[in-house]
Symmetry: C5
Subunit: 312 residues, 5 copies
């Protein structure tokens, strides 16, 4: 999850500790060599590492841009899941209508459907992080549904199939007309799309040659750097090289962190918090259902009796 | 809200005053040290801070681009809210039809629906800024609707549910056919999407590692800068360093301002002004309704009687 | 409107004349001071303005990219208006069908609808430029429609409402079935979206802090430049500084021009020309209508009689 | 059309021959002047053209990116035309159904419709390149259709109107139900969008101020370059300046080529080749139609008789 | 296919081996010439290749960005294929309903349809790589379907036509209503779009002038580089030039690899693995079908009998 102030300096430096120790060791060896074997001194003009710095800066900037785009896309997908979950709940609550009779069965059906949608959010969130998909299923699913989902590798997909089967049931029971069934099916398609997009981001490695070549150029640059500075600084080049290397390595690490937004890291997409928001909103929409029907029936009566406050 | 000439120079400098005072103090200390302890002078070639400047410039440029994209996306979402509010009003006014009888009830229904849509815009605008969502609800909602929304944490979402319930009512009353209900439901889905997208931008912190690493690199650059300039300028490096630091810090601040477009700042998305435009347009579409029906009825009569000016 | 060869060099230089005169005056004063008060000479290494040049170049490049995106988006919206106007005309001409009788009334209806769509394009074009929205309404609208639109602040929106009312009329007259009404309503929604998107681009100022900070950095750079060059050139720095300043100021101006594409400037989106293309295409589709029905009736007869040339 | 190896070096150099000759002449004149009037020598530090090189590089890189985006968008539109043509053919072949009788007339109708779609692709391709739109119309259209299209300025648009009229005919004949008519109409809308998008790219000049300002900065840079190099090289600066100018001019030319993808150049979108692919696929789908109905009837019989291989 | 650790250093260096040998030979020749003909020494300031390095870096960075976008688009298309395949299966399994009788025939139909969708994924994957499209067709298609597809050049397109014909069959048999047919047809349209988008990426060469001009500028830069370094290093310039050339050539190669994602290379889109995931998910959805109907019937009975646990 991502909160405003949860990344201490230790955390930042800790991420590149090993790399920095290696860079420091390398810089010290070069400085030593330079000190004790003056006849073998190699020095290159600072313009040479500068040329490499330009291309590495550009590649790192583009790469961190692409990593940010992946992260923002992941966030956008979960935003779409919020929207489509609310739309689905609104459609289930306002489309389904049983006339007068059997109202209790329909209310049960609506509750079961919306709880299943909440369970879908939690199970998608968990399965993306490689954790137990059944975390909230006891509260939100009935036993037969749990048994049904156990037969699938992909639990969220099995819940979408149950949604589809329930839509057929509602249609056969006459609670939905055919246009409404197709309209809710379109909402299910959008949820299915969001699920697949999350899996795509989760399962697609950032192109390995891309990462590797940038990594290679970066170390080539760090390897040349001491020879460009040694002439001016002697031993003082060591802290300078560590500082410059730290800046570049941090940017590379940042990109690596952002590019995989479903890995239990502090910069992840906050899928659990989003699922909780969905649960709160959907439960309020659902629990309210018993009251508002009464409210609306009253309103309609009031209108039919008086037609008073509608006159302009 | 964002107007053309409302940002004085004081405002601009005021934003980075504290940082500039610290940078000035740091630059003065280095210059003093250099003056009074000539034996311990450290000087680095200007090429070293230049390398850092390149990568920081790129990262800041990309970051301000991403911040601008967030800001423009927020503006685009409110543009979509304008469009969908107008489309919703047009659909409500031209789809709903009660035949001959009960016209007064239907007019009241239409007025209530469109006023509720205006209230939705104001309440979304207010809730995004963390302010009272009920600001215009007295004028625009009936008491039972206000009572209904009080039971929800998310007021705009409760209004969308009321929209949905009213659509069912209209369908049951025979004012809408099933295709029209589904078409208006699609419009509600788009409004629900826009609402969720605003919440996503509001609630998603810009990735903390990203901000932090750029901030870290920027201060590393500013910390190295005096050592690169001290040799040429002595005490004159102080104003130069302040000027350069000001340029970079301003760009960083600009990005921070743009990236959160719903925070009551001068660069915000003008949600209140947009809501007022929606109110104006929707009220004109609504108030006009009483006249245009008459107009059209006249036109139709004219056509039925004469069929004159249609002959080509 | 944007034509290939309509921007003379005078126009280009004229845009930054005032700024260049000020820059020249500043450069001359610095050079004079340098000449006559040699004891107070200040000179800075050229690397310092170079660092600023890098970040300003990047910001200007990104900014001109964003301005270009706004301009291209505006062009794309008017492209969508062309497409949706044609689709609307095709749908009106091929969906509406009155069976045998009352064909004259229906032809009049079609003609009035399509003329109104042409009027919508002109009035949107004019209102975006802040000019008279009624420019072609005498030719294209009937008097009652003009009277109707006068009651609205937003004339194009009132025309869309008239479209919607006419669709209801056509549906009530049995010229359209309910699916066709909803399909045409979707086309109206897309036109409504395009209208709102144009208004968004028109009404949204480019973020003021963004423009201001870039402007500030640019003048900081120009202010430092003479001190970096004075040592090498003396009085010769004046033309050099003017040339460099001209390059940067031109790029900034270019961005300012592109970012507002509805302001009666030579780089504007050619909304009037596009409206004329729409008028030509829609009128050909409409006028042709009287012939092609006959054509098709003949064809059908031919087929029914012979079924000859369809055999493969 | 764009093939892998069709751009020889001659072609590349030929594009900037005139510019290079002028640059060479200019460089030689400067070198002569420098040689023969040593008292009037002007020399500027190489850092000055470097500052200009940075901003020009950025602007050229962004511009070539925008030109690439236009080119790729054009390619994507023609990709959408392929997809929608196939979808249209599939819908025409599988939706239209006449029950038992009059099958020959329906087969003729389907063939005429799909041939007209192929003709639409060819005529759009030709009209975008400003060539004869009727290139394949003899093979693909019936005489009455050709006569009909002659009354339109925009031939592809007239073919879409014929599509729409045929859909009405099919609906009136009972070959299509109303949902299918609306679904195919949506496909026509997408084709109409693609057509309009191609026209938009074709007719929209790249913003002239943008091109002009970049061009101006580029020549300013080339004009300054000899003064920065003359001191070190004397006459040797001539080949260097030609090489550097060639690199920048080539990048500018490349952008100019890519930005207009419908101009009969080797880098164009291969609209003719794409139209041929569409023709091949649609003809196979069509010709096959006579066999597969038989195939399916057999299959259904087999299933009705035995129901064997469906048992799991 | 793309796995995390499958690119050894050998592979990386191997890709640019030939280029590096040529660069080394060139650098050695220049160094020799410089050593043995001191009177003909040519040396240029390092700033000249730096100017070229800036523009090449920018062009390469943009180009690798565009190549990455192609690669990511390809991955996104296959993600959409996953989503639409699952949606198609859900729609087929939950829409089609035969009432009571003939259930066995319908189950066979569903199985055949879903197997055909799996075959479509495999055949698209194979045909994009230019390999045998019939790889899994024996398992997944019935003989008549294979015979049908043999008459088409484009096998996946023929399978979509079979899908469309089967939809008509299902509609004629009364298993689907007309809205459901149109809804599934929309899913087929999306699959058809994805197919066409893959073909577009496969068949569109990256613009040849673009590649060529960048290539030309890169070699111009490498050709100038030795003259900039020879003065400082003598023979030591050889390894430096190889290192710098390697960095730039690697970035160019990386872009070339990413831009064509369907060519049997290690960085390809993993279309076979994705097809296997689709097969697993669709088969689980299908095989489960026999159980869940029973499950649901039981649930419904339980509800009808007791209506117990639905009471809130």
């Amino acid at each position: 999850m991502l909160l405003k102030k949860n990344i201490p300096v230790n955390y930042v430096v800790g991420k590149i500790k090993n790399e920095l120790i290696m860079v420091a060791a390398y810089a010290i060896i070069i400085a030593m060599f330079h000190q004790f074997f003056p006849s073998l001194r190699i020095s290159i003009p600072i313009a040479v590492p500068t040329i490499l710095a330009t291309i590495i800066s550009l590649l790192l900037a583009f790469r961190s841009n692409q990593a940010y785009d992946r992260w923002w896309e992941a966030r956008g997908i979960w935003g779409a899941i919020v929207n489509d979950s609310r739309s689905l709940a609104r459609e289930i609550l306002t489309f389904l209508d049983s006339g007068e009779s059997a109202s209790q069965e329909l209310e049960g059906f609506k509750k079961r459907f919306i709880n299943r949608q909440i369970a879908w959010c939690y199970s998608l969130s968990q399965s993306l992080r490689g954790q137990n998909s059944y975390i909230r299923s006891k509260d939100l699913l009935v036993d037969e549904e749990i048994k049904f989902t156990r037969r699938f590798t992909n639990m969220p997909n099995s819940l979408l199939k149950l949604h589809g089967l329930d839509l057929r049931l509602a249609y056969n029971n006459g609670w939905l007309n055919e246009y409404q069934q197709v309209q809710i099916d379109s909402t299910l398609n959008r949820l299915c799309d969001s699920m697949g997009k999350c899996e795509r981001i989760k399962n697609t490695v950032f192109p390995a040659t891309y990462s590797l070549y940038i990594h290679f150029c970066l170390y080539l640059f760090i390897a040349l750097l001491p020879f460009g500075l040694i002439e001016y600084f002697g031993m003082f080049e060591v802290p300078l090289i560590i500082a410059i290397a730290a800046a570049f390595l941090l940017v590379e690490k940042m990109a690596i962190h952002l590019q995989d937004p479903f890995e239990n890291k502090p910069t992840d997409t906050p899928t659990t918090a989003i699922s909780q928001t969905i649960e709160r909103d959907l439960k309020q929409m659902l629990n309210d259902n018993q009251h508002d029907d009464i409210l609306h029936r009253k309103e309609q009566q009031a209108r039919e009796e008086a037609n008073l406050y509608y006159i302009l």
